[in-house]
Each structure stands twice: as structure tokens, then as C-alpha cells.
């Protein structure tokens, strides 16, 4: 059952916390973050010189204070994550309970979509590894980049350095000193570079962008490079069900979409990135530049006719894969585009669109002149807020939870979607 069905969907507005009071209570209050269900708001607060805690709905999350707290985020399962530091050691705290293991430094947290798994990169004695839900890699490396977490939350991976390179030793570097480590264990094959990687949905396989020498790039899957090489590549994706791997590749000055080392989409583009599957794997979209300086979305290889000058971002399919939305930027104006049709409303900023569970409605957090609100199907909510978060549809799609800060108060609104969309 969707956990959301347990949330309070009673229409109305309820003040959850008064952030103005926090400002009086603490030396300073940092950016607030809100729980997915809107029942809690939290912020890192400064208690005294070099003393920090996290304030949740007006109370500290635990007794201890820390020398530093950063990267506060609510996870999808409602837990509150932060990186904390005390006596020069760093670790993760979840809902105010620190992991037992402490590190020289912790950064780059990655969460699964359900929020149940948390991975971080750590440094200990100038060696690097990853920690997953508090458990550390047994092997560590002198350099680690491009950390990844499997969608099922059970595996971590990163690009690691497995041979030593002297200062400015370009010869050794070009022999290939990097590989992928999964759960700390390296592949046998080494590469000049290893970059973005993707796990298969079940976490059993891994594909990565690799550079074989300074000029030949390809995709390596489970350590085995595709048998064709390219001028460069972008990050690979796994098909959600059939195990194939796709990636944008550059050949002859153009970008193509390839699958398992073979051409997949017919047309080439000036640019092609962010290939994104619908969850059933039947449809595939990507951000493309059909010509220099014009950007759009291509669905199954066919670009939308509407294009944007600057950027197309935040591609997202509806849950059943039948619809597709993205953001487009033209000069200072951000717009929402759904199935190729561009909304009339323009915004100073917009966030990734959110589909209703049945895919019929599209909502987005938007901003104009420093005020935030929610838009649904190109219509705006009447309230202008100091902050809002992503809108959340009720499981039946009829209501919407809007989490907002108004006059310094964090307010939980439940409205009928029809109130905005008509």
C-alpha cells in the first residue's frame, strides 16, 4: 500500500511550526527542510560559537550539539539525514542518532528513491571508500570519484585508483590506473578514466563510461568494454527490464544513442544526454539539441517540435509511462513542457514536474520575483509563499499536499487539485 494513504489528507491549512520563533531562539537558522508528509520541518541551527544542532518542529533532534552539521535532508521514508562533525571526526546522523563509525571526512550522500538506503563517500587517513547504511568498504583507495548506489540500495560503486601515479607522471597515467570498485572490490580491468556509472535495477550489473586511452571512449559493462569505441560518451542507463545498456556516444562530431554497442536511435543530434526510460521500459526519452543552440526532448528518437534556446532539464515520465514532461529555458524564462506542448506561464525558476498517480495532471513548484507557488496544468495556486516544496498528490490524485513557508510559518496545506486546475 502506498504509505501516502496514511497521511492526513483532510483539506485545510495547518501551521506545523513557527520559524520566526526559532530565529529568536538561536543565533542563526539555516535553510529549512521538510518531511515528505509535511508533518515536520527541520533546520540546522547555531546555538553558540562553533555549536550546532538540528531543530525539528521547534525542538533539538538530540541532546548533543556538534562543531559542524551540514547536508541536512529528509529522506523519502521520513528519516532526517545530516553529516555531523565533532572533535575533527565526521559521520552520518539519522534522526539524531549518529553512525558508530567515525571518519576523517564524509561527503556526497546518495539515497535510494525510497529513502531506505544511505551511502556516503568517506576519507580515512587519506584513503577513500564508501559506507552503506553504516557499513564500510573493507578496501580503500588513494583516490575515489563518481560514487553510485544501486536502485535496490544494496550495492555501492565508485571509480577508484588502483595503481600509483607519481607527480606529473603522464606516462603511467595513460597506461590506465583506474577501475570500478563494487562494494569495495575492484574490477580486474583498468582504464585511463572511469566516470559515471549505472547499476542495473536489481543491482547485479554495472555499466560505466570509460576512456581506454586519451582518444577512445566506450561503455564497460561488468568490466567488459563494448567492442566499439567513440570520440566520447555520456552516462549509460540500463533498460528497466531487458538488461540492455544504452548510452549517448559521439561519432563524427554528432551524438547518437547506442544500445549494447550498436546504433539504437536513427537520427543523430548536436547534443543528446539524459536518456530516461519510462518505468516499464517501453518508452525512452532524452534531452537533445536537434540543431546548434536549440534544445528539446526526443521521445523514442523523435524530437518535439517546440524547442528552447538555453536548456531542457528535469525530464520525467508519468507513472504509467504514457506522458512525458520537462522544463525548458528560454533566456531568463523557465517553462514547463508536457508531451511537447509548452505552458503559457513562464517562471523565473521551475522545479521538476510531478505527475498525478494516474498521469492526467502535472504540477510543479515554481518561482516568480522571489515568491514561490505551485502550478497545476498551467494554472497557478493563489498563494504566494516564501518557500514551497515539491507538490505531492494524494494516492487518488484528487488532493494535493503543499508544504509552504508563509510569513515565517511552516504551513501544511491540503487542497483539492481542482482548486488550482479547475
Amino acid at each position: 500500500m502506498d504509505e501516502r494513504s496514511n497521511w492526513d489528507w483532510e483539506p485545510g491549512a495547518r501551521t506545523v511550526a513557527d520559524l520566526n520563533q526559532w530565529k529568536e531562539q538561536y543565533v542563526w537558522v539555516e535553510e529549512p527542510y521538510v518531511r515528505p508528509d509535511g508533518e515536520a520541518v527541520a533546520a540546522i541551527v547555531n546555538v553558540d560559537e562553533g555549536e550546532f544542532t538540528v531543530c525539528v518542529n521547534g525542538s533539538p533532534w538530540e541532546e548533543n550539539t556538534y562543531e559542524k552539521i551540514w547536508h541536512l535532508r529528509y529522506l523519502a521514508d521520513g528519516r532526517l539525514f545530516a553529516i555531523i562533525s565533532e572533535m575533527g571526526e565526521w559521520t552520518v546522523s539519522l534522526d539524531g542518532a549518529p553512525w558508530e563509525t567515525k571518519f576523517g571526512y564524509v561527503w556526497n550522500p546518495i539515497f535510494t528513491e525510497d529513502g531506505r538506503s544511505v551511502a556516503v563517500s568517506f576519507q580515512q587517513d587519506m584513503q577513500y571508500g564508501m559506507a552503506l547504511n553504516g557499513h564500510c568498504w573493507e578496501s580503500t583507495y588513494p583516490t575515489m570519484t563518481n560514487a553510485a548506489l544501486s536502485p535496490d540500495g544494496r550495492h555501492t560503486a565508485a571509480a577508484v585508483q588502483v595503481a600509483s601515479i607519481g607527480e606529473a607522471d603522464i606516462q603511467t597515467f595513460q597506461q590506465g590506473c583506474f577501475t570500478v570498485a563494487i562494494d569495495g572490490s575492484p574490477w580486474e580491468q583498468t582504464f585511463v578514466n572511469v566516470w559515471n556509472m549505472a547499476f542495473s535495477p536489481d543491482g547485479s550489473r554495472l555499466a560505466a563510461e570509460v576512456r581506454l586511452n586519451l582518444y577512445e571512449y566506450t561503455i564497460a559493462v561488468d568490466g567488459v568494454a563494448w567492442n566499439s569505441v567513440y570520440n566520447t560518451v555520456w552516462e549509460p542507463v540500463f533498460h528497466p527490464t531487458d538488461g540492455s545498456v544504452l548510452a549517448p556516444v559521439r561519432l563524427g562530431g554528432k551524438w547518437w544513442l547506442y544500445c549494447d554497442g550498436k546504433p539504437f536511435w536513427d537520427p543523430s543530434f548536436v547534443q543528446l544526454w539524459h536518456p530516461t526510460f519510462s518505468s516499464d521500459g517501453r518508452r525512452l526519452a532524452a534531452v537533445v539539441a536537434p540543431k546548434f543552440g536549440r534544445w528539446t526532448v526526443a521521445l523514442d528518437g523523435k524530437p518535439w517540435s517546440a524547442t528552447f534556446r538555453d536548456m531542457v532539464t528535469d525530464l520525467v515520465f508519468s507513472p504509467d509511462g504514457s506522458r512525458l514532461a520537462a522544463l525548458g529555458k528560454e533566456g531568463p524564462a523557465w517553462k514547463v513542457a508536457v508531451d511537447g506542448r509548452v505552458w503559457d506561464n513562464a517562471f523565473d525558476m521551475a522545479w521538476q514536474p510531478v505527475f498525478s498517480p494516474d498521469g492526467r495532471r502535472v504540477a510543479a513548484k515554481v518561482e516568480r520575483s522571489g515568491k514561490y507557488t505551485i502550478a497545476v496544468d498551467d494554472r497557478l495556486w493563489g498563494r504566494q509563499c516564501d518557500a514551497v516544496w515539491h507538490p505531492v498528490f494524494s494516492p487518488d490524485g484528487k488532493r494535493m499536499l503543499i508544504r509552504a513557508v508563509e510569513n515565517g510559518e511552516f504551513v501544511r496545506h491540503v487542497i483539492s487539485v481542482a482548486d488550482i486546475a479547475g
Binding site: W28, E31, E49, W70, S121, A168, I170, F178, G293, R309
Partner: protein, 445 residues
């Protein structure tokens, strides 16, 4: 063309060139040159090559030429003659020695400063032709060692100084703490989604010059700017791959930069006082990726300081009293038109500006830019000797009273430091940020 023996002696060995050339075969050279010229060079290249009438009017533009007593080998057209024209004339059938010399010319005898393009009656952009040579040298694996190593750093860490993933946020937090001793409530907000501005810098700042981040944080804080810095890659706006001809790597770096800003939902990117990074984000890298202009507006520090001073967001407590002269960095002045903003900022911050001559878009390059300083110690003296005219220009400004030299670019800063030191010019070198931080109104510390 042979090189005088004494010049050879002054240089150390460059394994990038030596070992790179030792691996070449005539077939590899021929094929690589023809591949780049036929497949990667479009009408622009053809037009430049066909239009040049060998008149030599571009010669007087080049600081190398002037500093070497008008030696034609150092004239812009001379550099093309010794490289591209030979390659075209011989249809790529040139030898390893030629390639080595071409690598030296393009990487250590041209700053890609584009001054010569203003002197050519046809506007031929010799710097572009030199980047074609660099692309060939890259494809042949003969790029000088130190700049190649920098490109390797970019490839691993997306920054130019091997700054590791943890070292970046750790440095920002350390600078935040330092600055809190001066302004207790100051923050360097990391990963603040929806901030108006992402502030980006080049890797030497966290590596060696963390005080510049400190100063920037104080300026942002006191100007009341809604800003953030990313804790991920994408923070570094520098780009030596652009200068090694590794366009694919350049694209990778710039994509990370702009997508980081997009992820943070900022409206603008303000960048520190760097020239080559401006060229990379404002011209080269963005365009290679398919963006006509930066997809998220880029504001160079000069423009940004001008903006906050004009808006009265920063007040000057007492102007800088020592007379200053101002170096116009090629990439932001010839390449970005920021010279009047630079003068506005100077006048707001300083009592006396002593102009150097020539100035604005006609200014002489620092001779460090275009990746030349990044080719490292083997070429240091060549770089300094190749810019005697800069020393003369600075001496003249000093004779008219200048005591301090403002250089709003990292490469210029380092290059001019070497020139000032070697020729004994005796000017103190500062960034705008140094002076702004010094003269601005701040809470009592």
C-alpha cells in the same frame, strides 16, 4: 626552422614532447594531421588560410615578436607559416622534429590572446589556427607534460589541481570557520538549492589561495547576496583541456559546471577573477556542447563587483590610497568587453588609477595565458623573455606613479608576478578582491 643552441639549453627536457614524438610514425603523423584538417576544420579554417596575404601586419601585435626584437619567427603569421602552412603544403607529410617544434610554437610561443586578430586587415584569428595545431598535437600525443598532467587532473577530479572530492567542501568549511572569527554569522552556504547565485572558482583557490575564498565569502555576506557553492564536482570553472585541444574533455567539464548550476536551481553563475575560465564557460566549452551562449548567465567577478558597488550593496570605508595600474586580461577584455567595468571598479575602490599603455582591448597579454604558464618550468624563461614589452609597459606605468598592479585574472597574476620579479619592476600585484576586501565597510572585527 632550427632553434638557436642557447635557447635549447635554457629549457629542461619535456617528456610530453620527447616521449610523445618518439612514438610517432610518418603514417600516424600524416593521417592525424589530415584527419583533423579534413574532418574537424570547417569553412572558418579554410577562409583564414585562403585569405591571408602574408602581409605581416599582424606582427606588431604580438608581444613575442616585439620582445624578440621583431624576429619574424615569433610573428603571428610566422607561427602559422611554421605550422599549419607546412602541414598543408606537405599534405601532412612532416616529421617528428617538425611536430615537436609545432608543439613548442603552439603551446609555448602563443598565448591565444587574439591581439593579432585586431591588427589583421581581414580579422584573421591566428589564435584559432594555433588551437587547430594544438588539436593535432593532442591527437598525436605530444602535448607538453605539465599541461597534459593538468588535463589528467581535470579528467579524474573535474578540477585542474588534483583537488579530491573531500578536500573541496572541507576547505570551504575551513574558510567559513576562519571568516566566522571576523564575522561570527558568516556562512558559505553549500548545496543551497534555489539560491540566486552559484559562486565558482578555479582549483588553485582551494589548493593554494584559500584566502580568496574567504574574501569572496566576506564580500557576498556583506553585500547580502543569496549565494551557494556546490559540494560536488562542477565547482571548478577552469579548463586546461580547452588549451590542450582535448575538446571532448572540455565538454565533459563544462557540462558538469552548467548542470551543477542547473541542479542547484540558481539564476546566475558568478565566477572568481579568472580569464581563461571565462573563455571556457562563455565561448569555447558551452559552444562545443551545443549552447550558443552560456545556458545559465555567467557573471565575471569584475562585472559582479561593479554591480554590487553600483547598487550600493558594498560601501567603501576608505579608498585604497596607493596609486594603482590596471592590467586588462585578454579573455575578459578582448573576449568579454569588461574593460569599462574594470575601470569603474578601480575608481570606486582606489584613489588613483595610472593607466598603462596600450590598454583596454589593446593591452598586451601577460604571456601566461592560453595554457602557456601551465606548460610549466621548462618554459618559464621563454615565457618571461617573450614578454619584455610587458615589463617595459609596467615600468612606464611605474614611472608615472603606479605602485600596485591590479590583475583580475589568475593566470595574469602568476605570469605578471614572474615578469615583475625577473625584470625588477617593483610593483605589488593584487586582485580586485584583495582591494575590495581591504577597503570595504565591514563590522568591527
Amino acid at each position: 626552422m632550427a632553434e638557436p643552441a642557447e635557447e635549447k639549453e635554457k629549457k629542461g627536457l619535456d617528456i610530453g614532447l620527447e616521449k610523445g614524438v618518439s612514438k610517432l610514425t610518418p603514417e600516424k603523423i600524416e593521417q592525424t594531421i589530415n584527419d583533423v584538417l579534413d574532418k574537424e576544420c570547417g569553412p572558418r579554417f579554410k577562409t583564414y588560410v585562403e585569405t591571408c596575404i602574408h602581409c605581416g601586419l599582424c606582427s606588431e601585435a604580438c608581444h613575442y615578436y616585439l620582445s624578440h626584437d621583431n624576429d619574424p619567427r615569433f610573428s603571428p603569421v610566422g607561427k602559422v607559416k611554421q605550422t599549419i602552412w607546412e602541414m598543408l603544403r606537405k599534405k601532412g607529410k612532416v616529421n617528428g622534429e617538425f611536430i615537436k617544434r609545432a608543439a613548442e610554437i603552439t603551446h609555448t610561443e602563443c598565448n591565444l590572446c587574439k591581439r593579432c586578430a585586431m591588427y589583421c586587415p581581414f580579422g584573421i584569428d591566428i589564435a584559432y589556427l594555433m588551437t587547430v595545431v594544438r588539436r593535432i598535437i593532442h591527437k598525436l600525443g605530444c602535448t607538453p607534460q605539465y599541461i597534459q598532467d593538468t588535463a589528467h587532473s581535470h579528467s579524474v577530479h573535474y578540477n585542474q589541481m588534483w583537488v579530491k572530492g573531500d578536500e573541496w567542501p572541507d576547505t570551504l568549511q575551513w574558510q567559513e570557520e576562519e571568516a566566522q572569527a571576523e564575522i561570527p554569522t558568516l556562512r558559505i552556504p553549500l548545496e543551497k538549492e534555489g539560491a540566486e547565485i552559484m559562486y565558482s572558482v578555479i582549483a588553485p583557490e582551494p589548493k593554494f589561495q584559500a584566502q580568496l575564498i574567504y574574501q569572496a565569502a566576506v564580500i557576498m555576506d556583506q553585500a547580502g547576496v543569496d549565494w551557494t557553492m556546490p559540494a560536488t564536482v562542477g565547482w571548478d570553472n577552469s579548463d586546461m583541456a580547452m588549451f590542450t585541444g582535448d575538446s571532448e574533455l572540455m565538454g565533459r567539464l563544462k557540462r558538469a559546471h552548467f548542470e551543477t548550476a542547473a541542479r542547484l536551481k540558481v539564476k546566475r553563475i558568478v565566477m572568481g577573477e579568472c580569464g581563461h575560465a571565462f573563455r571556457s564557460v562563455y565561448d569555447m566549452g558551452n559552444r562545443w556542447l551545443g549552447w550558443q551562449m552560456p545556458p545559465i548567465p555567467i557573471v565575471h567577478a569584475i562585472e559582479f563587483y561593479a554591480e554590487i558597488l553600483r547598487a550600493g550593496k558594498i560601501k567603501v570605508a576608505k579608498k585604497f590610497s596607493r596609486p594603482v595600474t590596471l592590467h586588462d586580461p585578454c579573455n575578459v577584455v578582448r573576449g568579454g568587453g569588461l574593460h569599462e567595468d574594470a575601470r569603474y571598479v578601480t575608481r570606486q575602490l582606489c584613489e588613483t588609477l595610472v593607466e598603462m599603455h596600450p590598454n583596454r582591448e589593446h593591452n598586451y597579454c601577460c604571456c601566461a595565458g592560453g595554457g602557456v604558464i601551465n606548460c610549466g618550468p621548462p618554459y618559464k624563461m621563454k615565457r618571461i623573455e617573450g614578454n619584455r614589452v610587458k615589463a617595459e609597459q609596467l615600468f612606464a606605468a611605474k614611472a608615472r606613479g603606479a605602485e600596485v598592479l591590479i590583475t583580475p585574472c589568475h593566470n595574469c597574476h602568476s605570469g605578471l608576478h614572474d615578469i615583475v620579479h625577473h625584470y625588477g619592476v617593483g610593483l605589488e600585484i593584487k586582485f580586485f578582491g584583495d582591494i575590495l576586501y581591504e577597503v570595504m565597510e565591514k563590522p568591527e572585527g
